[in-house]
Symmetry: C2
C-alpha cells in the first residue's frame, strides 16, 4: 500500500464531502437536511465503488459491507459520523468513514482477504445539532436508542419522526437495528484528535486509552443588584465578581490535578441583564469537567463545588448548581489498545497513549463490545469544530497504514462463530 497516496485519497474524499453544507459559508450538515442527504448519497456511491455492499438502515445510517466469504465469520464494525456541528470541520467524523472505505477499496483491488467481515458504518447523527440527539446513529445498534427523541421538534417545528418519513426512512424500524454482540468482533474508529496534543508533541498518531466521561453543571449566583456609583465596595454583593472567582477556582483545581488529567471549562458565563452602571445581581455560568477516569473527575467536581459554596458564603451571595449531564468514562479494550499501539510502532512511529476528551460513537459502541480508537494529528493549532480544522495527507496515510496493520493483527486472533443457524 502506498501510504501517502492513500492519504491524499482520504483528504480528497473529505474535501469532496465538505462541499455540501446547509449554510453557504462554513460547513454545517444537520441530520436529514438537503446537504446531509447529498453526503449520504455520495457515501453510498463511494462505498459501492470500493466494492462494499451498501445498505441504508431505518435511521439513515449508511452501511457498507465487505464479506470475507467464510461462513461463521464475525464482523468488525468501523466507522464514524457524517453530520457536523454548526460551522464544523471537514475531518471530524468523516475521516473515520472515508479511511476504511479507502482501505476496503485497497483490499478489493489487491485481493487481500481479512478473516472477518468488515462493515463500514457512516453514522447519520452524532453531534445532535438539529434535535439535541447526541449519538443518535450508533445508539440503536447497542440497544440504547431513546424513542422519545422521535417526538422532538427542530427549530422550525419539524418533528424528527416526520423528517425521517419525509426522507423515506422508517422510524418504527429503528428498534430492530440492535446487533447481536456475539456476531461482532467489536468496534474500531479513526478520528481526528480535535486537540493540540499530538501537534505539540510532533507525532502523527495517538492510541486512545479511554473516552473521558463528562459531567456538567449549570450554575447560578445570586447577588444584590445596585447602582454602580452609589454602593461602596465593602457593602457590595456582586454576583459577577463572585462568579469570576468561582470559574478561576475551577481552572485552578483542574490545573492542579495530579495523575489523571482533568479538564474543566466554564464555556458560558454571563451577567444576567447586565448593564454598565449596575452592580451584577445575577450571574450564570456552566461547568464542564472531564477525565479519562471517573474518580479524579468526580473528586475535582466536589472540590470545585465546595470552593464555589465557600466563595458564596464569604461574599454573601447565593449559589445554586444543577447537574445537567453525567456520562461515565468508557475505557478502550486493553488488548485492542496494545494491538493498535503495536501496529503504530511497526510503522516506526511513536505510539502515544492518550485519553479522548471528546465523546465519540466509540463511546456508545464500546458499551456492548470490544472497542479501540485511533487519533490522527489535528493541524492549525489543534483547532476543531471549525472550518480551520486541517489534517495532512501524510498523517491520514499513516493512519490508514496503522489501521490495516491493526486489522491484520486482529485477524490473527480471530475466532469464528460456532456452527449453527445464523442470519
Amino acid at each position: 500500500m502506498e501510504t501517502l497516496s492513500i492519504g491524499q485519497e482520504i483528504i480528497a474524499a473529505c474535501e469532496q464531502l465538505g462541499r455540501h453544507s446547509d449554510d453557504p459559508d462554513g460547513l454545517t450538515v444537520a441530520y436529514l437536511s438537503p446537504a446531509h442527504r447529498a453526503v449520504a448519497a455520495e457515501l453510498q456511491e463511494a462505498m459501492a465503488a470500493a466494492g462494499l455492499t451498501v445498505t441504508v438502515d431505518a435511521l439513515g445510517n449508511v452501511l457498507g459491507r465487505l464479506a470475507c466469504g467464510r461462513t461463521g465469520a464475525r464482523t468488525l464494525i468501523t466507522g464514524s459520523h457524517f453530520d457536523t456541528v454548526r460551522n464544523g470541520g471537514r475531518f471530524d467524523g468523516r475521516l473515520g468513514i472515508v479511511l476504511p472505505i479507502a482501505l476496503a477499496r485497497h483490499l478489493t483491488e489487491t485481493g487481500e482477504r481479512l478473516p472477518f467481515d468488515l462493515e463500514v458504518i457512516a453514522f447519520a447523527e452524532e453531534e445532535g445539532l438539529r434535535y439535541a440527539s447526541t449519538f443518535l446513529g450508533s445508539s440503536p445498534l447497542v440497544g440504547q436508542f431513546d424513542a422519545s427523541v422521535l417526538e422532538r421538534s427542530d427549530a422550525s417545528g419539524v418533528r424528527m419522526r416526520d423528517a425521517m418519513k419525509d426522507a423515506g426512512l422508517d422510524p418504527d424500524g429503528i428498534a430492530g437495528l440492535r446487533r447481536d454482540p456475539e456476531r461482532l468482533l467489536g468496534y474500531y474508529e479513526v478520528h481526528i484528535e480535535q486537540g493540540p496534543v499530538l501537534l505539540q508533541a510532533g507525532e502523527a498518531l495517538g492510541v486512545v486509552t479511554s473516552i473521558a466521561g463528562g459531567v456538567r453543571h449549570s450554575c447560578r449566583v445570586i447577588g444584590t443588584a445596585g447602582h454602580a456609583g452609589t454602593v461602596p465596595m465593602p457593602l457590595r454583593h456582586d454576583a459577577g465578581t463572585a462568579a469570576a472567582e468561582m470559574v478561576l477556582a475551577l481552572e485552578t483545581r483542574c490545573r492542579a490535578a495530579e495523575g489523571v488529567a482533568v479538564v474543566g471549562t466554564a464555556g458560558r458565563f454571563e451577567v444576567v441583564r447586565g448593564a454598565t452602571n449596575v452592580i451584577p445581581g445575577e450571574c450564570r455560568f456552566t461547568i464542564d469537567l472531564r477525565a479519562a477516569e471517573n474518580g479524579p473527575r468526580d473528586r475535582s467536581l466536589a472540590d470545585v463545588l465546595q470552593a464555589c459554596r465557600e466563595i458564596a458564603a464569604r461574599r454573601g451571595v447565593g449559589f445554586e448548581s444543577e447537574l445537567t449531564m453525567n456520562v461515565p468514562a468508557t475505557p478502550c479494550t486493553p488488548a485492542w489498545v496494545d494491538a493498535l499501539a503495536a501496529a503504530v510502532t511497526a510503522l516506526g512511529l511513536p505510539a502515544r497513549r492518550m485519553p479522548s476528551g471528546a465523546g465519540h460513537d466509540a463511546m456508545m459502541m464500546g458499551r456492548a463490545m470490544p472497542m479501540a480508537m485511533l487519533f490522527v494529528r489535528c493541524g492549525n493549532g489543534g483547532v476543531s469544530h471549525s472550518p480551520q480544522e486541517t489534517m495532512s495527507a501524510a498523517d491520514a496515510g499513516q493512519a490508514a497504514a496503522a489501521t490495516l496493520g491493526f486489522w491484520r493483527s486482529l485477524g490473527r486472533s480471530v475466532r469464528d462463530l460456532p456452527a449453527g443457524p445464523r442470519e
Copy 2:
C-alpha cells in the same frame, strides 16, 4: 412647619405620580410617553395649587415660580427630573420636585417671604431611557444642549424632534432656554441617596460634597476557542478565565483605594457565543469607575488597565479596551455645603458629608452656578432604580425641614441684582 405631616404629603405625592407608567407592571416613564405627559400635567396642577406660576418650556420641563415680589431679586433654582429608568423607583428624581412644591405651598400658606425668587423645575429628561440623551432637561439651561440628539430615533424609529412636535413642544426654542447666571443664586437639589450608606449609618440625611465623575471602558479579551474535552489545561488560552481575573483585579484595586473612595464595577460580562463544551474564545466586559475626585479615579483606572494587560500577556490572550465615557467630578460649592450641613445640624441630626456616586441634574447645573445637594436615606437595603426603592415619611419631612433652613440661611446672605434693565 409640621415635619412629619409635610413628609407624608411628599411621600403621597410620589406615590400618586408613580401610578403613571409606560408598562403596566413596574414604573417606566420615558420622555414624552403618555405616562410622561400625564406626570407633567399632574405636576403643573400641583405647582399651581401650591401657589406657583407655572410654565412649560420648549423642551417639556415644567417650571413653577414663586416670586418674592422684590425687584432685583435673584432666583434660586431647585428641582430634579420626573422621567425614570426602566422599572425604576418612585422617589428617584420626583422627590426633588415634590418636596420644594410642598415647601412652596407651606410658604404660600404661612405668608413667609424668602428674599429671592424660587423656581421649582421638574426636568423632563435626565435618565436617557428613550434617546440615550442623559441630562437632556437641564443641559440647555447652562448652554450645554447638544442639538444633534434631536435627530436621534427611539427604538420604534420616532425621531426626538418629531416626538417633541407631536407633544406640542418647540425643538427650535431649546437654544433660547439658556439662563443668565448673573440672575441666578444657584441650584439646589434634593435626591434619594440610591445607595446604602445613610441606611447603614442609621442617619436620615447626607450633605453631598461632590458628584463623582465616571469613566467607562468597554473591554474585549481574545483567546483561543477550543473543544472543552480535548485541550489540556496548560495549552489553553481561555478568554473567559482571563476576563474573570481582570474583573477581580478591578474589584481588588477599588477595595484597596485609600483616602478618596473609588468604586469599580464590571456590570456587563459575557462570553461571546459561549457554549458549555467550548473553551471561550472571546469575552467582553465593561469597566465603570467613579470617585469624588478625578485623580484617585484616574490612578485606579491606569492600575486596572495595566493589570489587565499583564494578565493578558501572562495568559497569551489579547486585550483591547475602548474609552466610552469620561465625565469629570463636579464639586459642590463649599460655602453652600457648609450652610446645608448647618441646616441639618440645626435639626439635631448628624450632617454626614458624602460624595454622590451617581450623576444628577445638579452635575450639569453646577457647571454654571453655585450648587448644593441633599441626600435622603434610601430604605430597603439602599436599593434604587427598582420598584423596591422606598423612603420614610419621617426622613422626607426632615429633608423638607433642612431644605427650608438652608433656604433661609441663603436668604441671610443674598445680594440683589444691581438696578437696571431686566427681564
